[in-house]
Assembly symmetry: C2
Homo-oligomer: 139 residues x 2
DNA sequence: TTTTTCTATCTGATAGTAGCATATAGGGCA
DNA sequence: TGCCCTATATGCTACTATCAGATAGAAAAA
């Protein structure tokens, strides 16, 4: 159990410093992935700060989401990331329309994104191996 | 809902022929992945027929499973695949030890595996895009 | 002015999965 | 007799995804 897996309910911190917290957790070992919402949110926020409704649209730009991702999931993951300290937010009531909660990525969030990138490289090569194995077997 | 997602409970078939059934199902659209157990089982069985306990060990050879995959999950997925017609089995009581249920891949199963390969290619390139996007953003 | 629509955030309910533990049972061996 | 290994299978719980709906401000249409 760690904040990466389900930080919404148990906010018991994520280690003693940056870049930790992905070691003893089974979510790392077993490859649990939470549908890529979190890394996509983090990368979007690295590009520029944004609010949920806008992130919802920007997420469609990632090829993991051919259709629009679920509204509830996006807001819940943002909250979860905030509880873990990976993003932070403030309310913006200035301009037109309802108030927006603007999210920004934190240094911890940047570390987490970097860990995701590493994970993606691993997965990518595991898939390459799989495909190669298949081609050797079916040929 | 389709057999790819959860064919254990609802055995309502998978379309009218081979290679179908991955179209209207949300599991395809949203990228649900079921931990790669099913494709790994299918590829293992393509290489040669085998029983659950042996497959359990062979699954560790895939880089998706750094540790041993869950026993229960493997047997349940095998049952699920059999209900969908993607694998078939017979009991083997001949040699030493308890009886083994030997599984083999069916033509439908081979089609399913091929669909998985396509999915993996998609995912792989989606991850490459993601990584590239990250590198452009952080540079 | 009233209603509808769009933006925006958030919650509730349900179905399905992963992971862990446990149950069952045959066979070898000490 | 008791213990370990092989082999299959089920029960339970925590968690996730998905769908649906609630809330609410503001603009546009009627």
């Amino acid at each position: 159990m760690c904040d990466t897996c389900h930080g919404l309910e148990h906010g018991h911190g994520h280690g003693t410093g940056h870049g930790e917290g992905r070691g003893d957790c089974h979510c790392k070992l077993s490859g649990k992935v939470e549908r890529f919402i979190q890394p996509c949110l983090l990368l979007s926020l690295l590009q520029h700060s944004s609010h949920g409704y806008e992130l919802l649209e920007r997420l469609s730009g990632f090829r993991f989401y051919p259709g629009a991702p679920d509204t509830g999931a996006v807001y819940r993951h943002l909250r979860r990331l905030e509880n873990g300290g990976y993003v932070e937010s403030h309310w913006e009531t200035g301009d037109a329309g309802p108030a927006k909660r603007i999210y920004s990525i934190t240094p911890d969030g940047q570390d987490m994104l970097e860990a995701w990138i590493e994970e993606f490289r691993d997965r990518k090569s595991a898939m390459e191996d799989f495909i190669e194995k298949y081609e050797r077997s079916s040929r």
